[in-house]
């Protein structure tokens, strides 16, 4: 019984200091991965999933258009560097700002609809962004994507950091991810965070209590877009290119899958989901070309039998254990 109690206590401590706990894992992460590029990918897509989770897991709005924010973040960051000659940090800001703006427009239109209709509409609106960027070849490179986003050396307070070194790259990106996670955690813990969870639980009730539900939804939509935009900007810097498929709804579907596999509505879940998804992809594409079928099957299995996701199920089990073994 004592064992269970200290388990519950340490568990509660971790939850309260969740940002630190997650960062602790992420700092050690590169040591666990077979190669750094995978670790970096997990970091970036983990952030993408965190942004998406804000809207889906916490507010209950299933968007299928989030690739628009990832992609816009990537493209605007890239364009700022390639066409504008901007410094890398300004390009990141440009990416995040552009993604937030697109989030505002898409959010405004999509929030006029509800439930599963919302999923359809966000998918279609995201495709608008895809086609626009596809056609604007002179800016975006069209079908071939944007190329030549060269960032080699980063000047930080007099230190010259080699961005091409994968380990340096990982920890630099981690700084941004850490800042974003801190921000997301604060928002979730705030009164506003209580409102969006209430909206997920019972939208009608939330309105009856006096909250402007539409405005709250729009705000969380934009915040979600901003976080995904940051992930996109970091991805552009990492890959040095932006593939056009970053904007396609299949990329949106990837966020959905990662979130569900990891655990929606949990803080660490999206990272677990991203890690699981990308690791699985890495391992399977080495042995088969039919990765898509595997993903589909695994996803359906989770939807049917493990909707809480890996991390969500772990948390649920821990909570039950702690509750049943109290004196």
């Amino acid at each position: 019984m004592n064992q269970a109690m200290t388990l519950a206590n340490s568990f509660n401590w971790i939850v309260r200091h969740r940002v630190g706990a997650v960062l602790f894992c992420l700092i050690l992460f590169p040591l666990l991965m077979p190669y750094e590029a995978l670790a970096i990918n997990i970091l970036i897509f983990g952030l993408y999933a965190v942004g998406f989770n804000l809207l889906f897991g916490y507010t209950g709005m299933l968007s299928f258009g989030h690739a628009a924010f990832l992609g816009v973040g990537s493209y605007l960051c890239g364009i700022a560097i390639v066409s504008g000659g901007w410094p890398w940090w300004a390009a990141i800001v440009a990416g995040v700002a552009a993604a937030s703006l697109v989030g505002l427009v898409i959010g405004y239109l999509a929030i006029r609809t509800r439930g599963i209709y919302f999923s359809m509409v966000t998918l279609a609106l995201g495709q608008i962004v895809y086609y626009v960027f596809y056609k604007a070849e002179s800016w975006t490179g069209g079908e071939n994507g944007l190329r030549g986003i060269r960032v080699e050396a980063i000047n930080l307070l007099g230190w010259q950091l080699d961005f091409l070194n994968p380990i340096t790259k990982y920890y630099l990106i981690l700084v941004f991810v850490a800042a974003a996670l801190w921000f997301v955690s604060r928002v979730l813990n705030s009164p506003f965070g209580a409102v969006i969870e209430a909206i997920r639980e019972n939208e009608q009730r939330t309105a009856a209590c006096g909250f402007d539900v539409a405005r709250a939804k729009l705000l969380v939509f934009v915040l979600s877009a901003a976080v995904c935009g940051l992930a996109g900007a970091l991805r552009a810097l990492h890959l040095s290119i932006v593939p056009i498929d970053s904007l396609h709804y299949l990329q949106s579907g990837q966020a959905v899958m990662m979130c569900l596999l990891g655990g929606m509505g949990t803080f660490f879940g999206p990272f677990v989901g991203a890690a699981l998804f990308l690791y699985l992809e890495d391992v399977s594409t080495a042995v088969t070309t039919h990765w898509m079928a595997l993903v589909g099957v695994v996803f359906m299995v989770f939807v049917l039998f493990f909707p809480k996701g890996v991390w969500g199920s772990v948390l649920h089990w821990l909570a039950r254990k702690a509750a049943t073994e109290k004196p």
């Binding site: 009164p191 209430a198 006096g210």
Partner: protein, 247 residues
Amino acid sequence: MSLPILEVENVTKRFGNFVALNQVSVAFQPGKLTAIIGPNGAGKSTFFNVVSGLFAPTEGRIRFQGRDITGLAQHEFARIGIAKSFQITNVFKQLSAHENVRVAAQMRASRFALLRPRDSMKALIEQADALLERVGLAALRNKTAADLAHGQQRALEIAMALASDPLLLLMDEPTAGMSPEETVVMMRLIVELSQERTLVLVEHKMKLVMGLCERLIVLHHGEFLAEGTPDEIRNNSDVRRVYLGEG
């Protein structure tokens, strides 16, 4: 006579071809405990939903303290001082009782603060606990709402409605589905609350309203039939015909 706290003026509500309310005009006096009664199908629920802001009337106007509030959005109603409790219990099932009330109370305090930790808002926490105490749920503070007994969930609804400190509290069949003991507790609470705020109930348990309310309004087939004190209504021939004659 003072200014009515709520005035309903020639309100009609249509759903497609079905006329749920037809030219209903009613005024509610502040401080009086009023009940809307009528046989099944009288339009009580529709009336409740219109005056509580769930949907706007097809025709007619609604005035709150003299101000025209027709067509105002649902969330505005709570902000201006009209709160409600639902007929079918409508709480946040996965949150604890305390969290339910705290969310409701938050509306007054701060709505869109993005970076402040919730736990630091001490006044809000105390207010939520005080409200729970008021409705007798203090001991069940941390219990998940879904695990509360039916009567306790109804009490939670009331606490949430009170959280916005409303001038006018609308209650849709507050004792629905309650055991006799729970009903007594609820009635006591209603009497208490009616001393400090204006309460309007929708009820179909006649015994309850007769003994309790100062004023009754009777609806029938979506139209206004009669209003008055319980005695006046008891002796009203139209009302007797509708309730006893037609069966």
